[in-house]
Each structure stands twice: as C-alpha cells, then as structure tokens.
Amino acid sequence: MGNLLVSLRIVFLIAMRNLTSHRVKSLIVGSIMAFGTMLMVVGTSLLDSVEESMEKVVSSSLTGQLQIYSTQGRDELSLFGGLTASRPDIGEIEDFSKLKQLVEPIENVEAIVPMGVTIATGAGGNDIDSTLADLRRAVDANNSVEVKKLEGQIVQLASLLEDEYEYRAKIAADTEKLEQDLEVLQRVQESDFWEDFDLNANARLMYLDTKLAPLAADGKLFFLRLLGTDPQLFKKSFDRFEIDKGQMIPPGKRGVLLSRRAHERFLKHRVARQLDRVKREIEVEGRSLEDDELLQGRVRRLSRQYRRILFQLDVAETARLDKMLRDYLSEDTPEDDLAKLVEKFLLVDSNNFDERYNYFYENIAPMIELYRVNVGETVTIQAFTRRGYLKGMNVKIWGTFQFKGIEDSDLAGVVNLTDMVTFRELYGKMTDAQQAELEELREEVGADVVTRDEAEDALFGGDAELMEEGQPGELTEGFDEFAEVDVLERDERLARAGELTYEQEEIDSGLALNAAVILKDRDRIKETRSAIEAAIAREGLKLRVVNWQEAAGIVGQLITVIRLVLYAAIFIIFLVALVIINNSMVMATMERVSEIGTMRAIGAPRGFILVLFMLETLALGLIAGTLGGLSGALMIEAAGFYGIPAYNEIVRFIFAGPYLYPHVTWGNVLLAAVVIFVVSVIATLYPAIVATRIQPVVAMRGRE
C-alpha cells in the first residue's frame, strides 16, 4: 500500500483524464449529483431557517422553550390546537407554587409561567335580544324618549323579518308554524301594541322576549379559547406579545385580553369582516375582482348580507342612511327601498372597491355594532368545568393583543388571555372569595351542614338539595350563579366584574394545567430540560417536560412532516443517482477490461484499481457536489437577501412573518458533502470490485 500513496498522483491523473474523456457520462452523472446536493443544501437550509423562525414564534409567543405538564392526562399538550376543538385532557399541576420553587432556582431558567387552557362561550343573544335589553333598561329608567326610539327600531326589525317570513311561507310545505310567526311579527308592528306600553311594560316585554326574539335566527354565540396565566409575567416573558387596543390587564385585576385575530375574525360584524377579507385577498394575495370568479362570488354573497346592517339601525339612522346612500349612489329610483340600496352598495367591483370600503368604515360602521364585544365592556362567558357543568361568569375585556410578526396568522390568534384566578374558576376551582360566597349562599338557601369538599360538588355538581331550593328547570343549563338575582343586581355585578382583585400569591398557589419555562440561553435547551427532569424525578412529581415543538401540537409537528417529505425526496433522488452511477461505472469497467488487464500485468495491485475507480467517482462527486452545494448556498443566500414571501396565512405563521430570510449553515453543506460521498462510494463499490477481479491475462489477448 506504500506504493499506492506514491502512485496516487498518477491514479488521480488517470481518473481525471477518464472523466474528461467520457464527457457525456460525466456530465449526466455529475448533473444528478449536483442537483441532489443542491436540493439537499436548499432543502435543509430552508427547513432549518423555518424551524428557527418557528421556534422564535412559537416559543416567544406561547410555549416558551420548555413546557411542563402532568403525566396523568390522556392527551398530549398542544398549545396551538390539536385535531379536536374540544379541551384536551392534559392532566393537572396541582400545586404550581411547589413546581415554581423547584424549577426557578435551576440554572439557566429565566422564569416559569403558569398556564391553563379552557374553552369558553360568550352568549350575546341576537339583534332583537340586545334591542330588547336596551328597551328594558329604558323602561326601568322611565326614559320615554328612548323607549319611543327603540319602539321604532323593533317595529322596523319586525317589518324586515316579516318580508323574510313571507318569502319563507311561499316556499315552505308546512306553513302552520310560519303563519303563527307572521302573526307575531304583524302584531308587534301594530300601533296599539305600543299604546300605554309603560303601563303594561312587563307583560309586553315578556311577549317580545318569548315570541319575537326567537324569530331572529342569528344567535350570537361565540367561542373563546382562553389561556389562563399570570398576565404580568406573561407579558414580561413573551417578547412578541403586544397590546393592540385597550390596555393590559392591570396587576391584581381580573379580566380577559382578546387576541386581535379572534376579535377581527369571530367578533366583528359579518359585513365588515367580509369587506376586510375581500380587501386582504386583493392586496395580499394579489387577486382581482375583475376576473377572479371566487372573489366575485364572495362579493355577491356579501351584498346579500344587507339585513345585518338594517337590523341594527333605529328609525332615525335608517332614514339617514337611506338619504346618504341615495346621494352616494346617485339613485333616483324612488321605488328602491333601503334594503335594495344597501345591497347595491355592497355589490362592489374592481373600480369602486377602495372607495366603498372607506365609505363603509367612515359612514356606515359608526351606526352599527362593529364588534359583538368591545374593549372595555364586560361580557358574560360560560365554560364547562372539569366536572362537566356549565359555569358562567362576567369578565371585563381589557383590550386586544397580538404577537409581533404574526399579526395576521390565524394560528397565532388561537388563544385569548385571562388571569389564572378567572381561569381556575371557569375550570372549576374556587377562589377563597367564592368559598365565602358559597357559605353565604348556603345560608340563604337554608342548607347548613355541608363540608368543604362537598360544597364544591354541591356548587358544580348541582346537588339535590340546592336544586330543590332553586328552579328545577335550571337543571338543563347547569348552575347559573345569577339565577336567583334580579336584573338590576345583574347589571351591578357586570360593572363590578372588572373590579375584582387578587394577590400574586393567589396566582402562584393552586392549580395550573401546564407551565412554560423561559430559558436565559436558548441553545442549552437539552441540558436544562434534563436538569428540570432530574429535579422533578427527585421530588417524585408526576410531571413531564417537553420542548416547544412538542408543546405546540400539530403546528410543531408540521415541521417534522415537511422534513420527512424532504428527506424522502432526497432519498429518491440519490437512489436514482446511485443506480445511474452504478450502471455507468459497470459499463466503464466493461469498456476498460483490456486497459485494466494491462495495468495489472505491468504490476498494478488490486488496490490500485479499486482506488482508481473510487477516485473517479469521488472526484466527480467532489466537483458536482461543490457546484451543487455552492449553487444551493447561493440560492439560499439570495433568498435570504430578498426574502421569500409567505403566500398564505399558514406559511406566514411558519415563516414567523410575511417573509422568510433563510441562511446557509456549514452543517447543511457538510451534511450534503457527507451524503454525496457515501452515495458515490456505495455506487462505485460493486463495479470497482468487479474491476479488481479482471485478470492480467486478458491483456495478453490481442484485439483482432
């Protein structure tokens, strides 16, 4: 083998000469190798960059670098949502303060943030409900001007509904029920219904509540995925978090912060939301109203939503909008009513879209309820407790928030924030104040001996004793803490909701479902994870530690899936390369039998022939790999310079913003080099071994 080293130069020379004298073969094999290398460098660099940016988004908006949760639950933690819309069972961390004391002193831990997710529904009723609520208040306040105004609005609502029900009656088979409904609608529009309204207020209101309100199908139920946490610590720990509207939940105060995305998508007026969507599709996705049929279809459906505007107008507003739109559209067709006008207005085209969009927000939006829930309001939300009972409570909406860089992403809008104390209540754990309140309630209903443990069951479990005293009819809806109180007191409580306070200690001591761990040095995630796991094991806690990717749920796994697909593609390309290289080398061996025999006869050992063949492929691999790797690296660097635009919301979330700026790491290039090396060696091994078996005697045969 000593000879081998000395003769390496000549081997290299022969190898290179062979490569250049078989240009077509070298070009084909080289191109495949170069393409494979390029794909590898580009693919792995892109994925690493995506993972890096995703790590930033995910870990700096919700998960932190690590998450701790119970080993006792049936489901895995998925903070960005999993496959089901329901609340997963991830178990409980019974005493967060204990965990905090354990984890906080660990080196490299910056903070540990308590968390817990629950699904709450907000029930706002429909347009008639809210108008009727206003009417009730006006009657109670003896405000006859307001009553008169609301009377007009209700008559108008009834009239609009009557049109709709008449149309339904025409096409429905069973008209009996519809005729009854129409009677109600007509009755409400009659002027004698409103005469001496003050005197019969309660009976009339009852009629409206029970007969009229159900006729407006448009209920106002909305879902909120609520993340209970320590709001102040959350703000400090997650640097992508920022307030959009309103204010942060003040220290010690209770309440909710809505995600801007949820506020815009689920709580905004349907017409405004659709207009926003059309605008976004034109501006961000580059679609055109002129030739995009999907977009045109959207606009046609939008124009049919005119009732959603009309329902919310009182008599004066109706008249005002009628005049405004007539002027705006320069319509002199007196036979068109306002409904027709709004429909025409909403039927936008490519020429007038921007103008009408602005006109809507300047002139129409102030007349309607643009959001179902506004910042500063207190709303009633309900959630199923862990025992399966419905728990209702009032919460103040302090503001809306977003995560920097992923403002537009749906996935980033998956949670709304609330304080830990409110969360525990919705989840089914009582505060001390509630315990006291429960005692009070117990005295009120005359149940005297109930132990503390049973009290909870009694409250949430609807124990027989409580229910017998209350209204049996409530059973179907579970327990409602306001069931027994009258409306005035309810208003008072609504106002008080934002004033409820708690101490820091209350947040820490007690239940959490999971906890985010923020690290000082993000690169030492594995090391710190082990340290935390060791501490947990020492204390014998039934908790597990997962990284941000696992904690993010399906979103975090997306990257793994993409990586698998990429690797599969690379594998196939290199497999093809392997077969082609192998084939061409076998053919080359057959062509060069005489040459190899000569070399062997002259005294070249078998190893020499092996090295010769290996070197040929490796040299080709080196050249092709360098070219491919270099072009891949250049592509990535160019992409990193200009940025790759995210063409839809999911991509925008994955990119952690509207653009991804990828970069190449030496690890990626090295990986590609190693893979191309291995593929070259494997592909050449067989033909090279065949070549070493060629006997020198073949050289002695003439070529006649």
Binding site: G2, N3, L5, V6, S7, R9, I10, L13, I14, R17, N18, S21, S594, E595, T598, M599, R600, A601, I602, G603, A604, P605, R606, F608, Q695, P696, V697, A699, M700, G702, R703
Partner: protein, 246 residues
C-alpha cells in the same frame, strides 16, 4: 550461465464448455539470463499459454514454473503482481498503452508503481529510455497521436524502464508492417545486448524468428524443437511460408 526461467514438466488445461483443452502437455525448458529466445509454432500450439506462465499472469495446472527462483504456483495474487512488477516487462501485440496518459506518463507508470525512485530519478530514467527508442520528440504526445511503430516503441520503453530481468513480447510485430517490425526487432536485439535483459517473444514471422539466438517450437502443446539454428524449423513452423494461409 544463470537460469532465469525454469519450467519443469508443465501442463496447462483450460475448460472450454464441457471439454477440457490441454494447451500444454508436459513442457520442460530452461532459459538463461541474457538469451534472445523466440517461441514459435502455429496458432493453438500453446505459445501464448507458455508466455502467460512465464509472465506470471497465469499458473500451471501441473508441474512447476520458476521465475528468478520463485515458484509461481506457490505465490498469491499480490506476490505474483509484485514479481511481475519487479522482474518482468511486457510488450503486447496491441501495444496496450494507457490511452489517457501521454508517452512520458505511460513509460513512467511502472516506475510509479514500484515507488522506489524520486521524481528526478524517474524523469531521468524515462528520458534516457525514450532517447534509446528514438521518441525524444514525442514525449508529451498521447498514444492516439502516434503511429503503430511509435506506439510499440513506447511499449518497449515501458517494458524496459524498470530494468527487468525478463521482457516478454507476444507477437510484437504482428500489428506492424514488415519494415517497422524489423526496426522493432533490431531495437529489441540492441537492448538485449546492452541491457543484459532476457527477451522471450512469440512470433509467426520467419524473418523475425531468424533474429533469435534460440528458437523453441511448439506443436499441440509440446516442444518439438529447441535450438539455436533456424534450419528446418521455419518451414515446418510456419505453414504460411509453404504458401498456406492461416
């Protein structure tokens, strides 16, 4: 005289389908250092087989072949290869130059395999042998840029550059015209005289044969003549001379 090739009662069998062809049937001979020997005989007489055995590219089925004292049957592939590299030089009928290397590199090739000389020593040795075969001006040409005679000179230079004990040539003039063939044989003879290298070659050509100091004639795998003179051998050896076509 020192024996460089010793062959004792050698047989060589080749399988040919289901048959076994006996290429050599009990051949014994000794060739001494410095001889200029030709192996003659009609096609299929076993000439090439004998050369292969002497050239250590094949081993006998029976009997013993000793090259410079080494029994080839007792050596493994690596040792045989080494023996070829150190003791033997080859000149092939079809020249068998490495097409991607130029004249200088082709000649240098065995020296590189030996790995004993420095770059300067190698260059000197290669230039010297190329001067002697008259290819000083073609030193950087590739084989495909040379004539047949020039190619065979390169092959001779390559065979001699390592100063081997034996040079084997299998029909070295078969692919050359008669004038060029003569020059090549003249060259070989000259080198044989000056370098004290043993030359063993096979040929059909009686003119070439006459140049040899010893002629060994094979017929059907047996030696029928072994001697210095060509008298009575040529006619009997080569039917072509008697007006027959092979």
């Amino acid at each position: 005289m020192e024996a460089i090739v010793e062959i004792e009662d050698v047989t060589k069998n080749y399988p040919l389908g289901k048959l076994v062809v006996q290429a050599l049937r009990g051949v014994s001979l000794t060739i001494n250092k410095g001889e200029f020997t030709t192996i003659a005989g009609p096609s299929g007489s076993g000439k090439t087989t004998l050369l292969n055995l002497i050239g250590c590219v094949d081993i006998p089925s029976d009997g013993a072949v000793r090259i410079a004292g080494h029994n080839t049957s007792a050596l493994n592939d690596a040792a045989l290869t080494n023996l070829r590299l150190r003791k033997l030089g080859f000149i092939f009928q079809s020249f068998n130059l490495i097409p991607v290397l130029d004249v200088f590199q082709n000649v240098e090739f065995p020296l590189l395999l030996q790995g004993e000389l420095t770059k300067e020593e190698r260059a000197q040795r290669v230039k010297e042998i190329l001067r002697r075969v008259g290819l000083t001006d073609q030193i950087h040409q590739r084989p495909n840029e040379l004539s047949g005679g020039q190619r065979q000179r390169v092959a001779i230079a390559r065979a001699l550059v390592t100063k081997p004990a034996i040079v084997l040539a299998d029909e070295p003039t078969a692919n050359l015209d008669s004038v060029t063939g003569n020059t090549i044989i003249e060259l070989m003879k000259e080198l044989n005289a000056t370098a004290e290298t043993t030359f063993i070659f096979s040929t059909h050509d009686p003119k070439v044969m006459r140049q040899a100091t010893r002629i060994i004639r094979l017929v059907d795998g047996k030696i029928v003549h072994d001697g210095a003179g060509t008298e009575g051998v040529i006619e009997a050896t080569d039917p072509a001379l008697a007006g027959e076509e092979e």
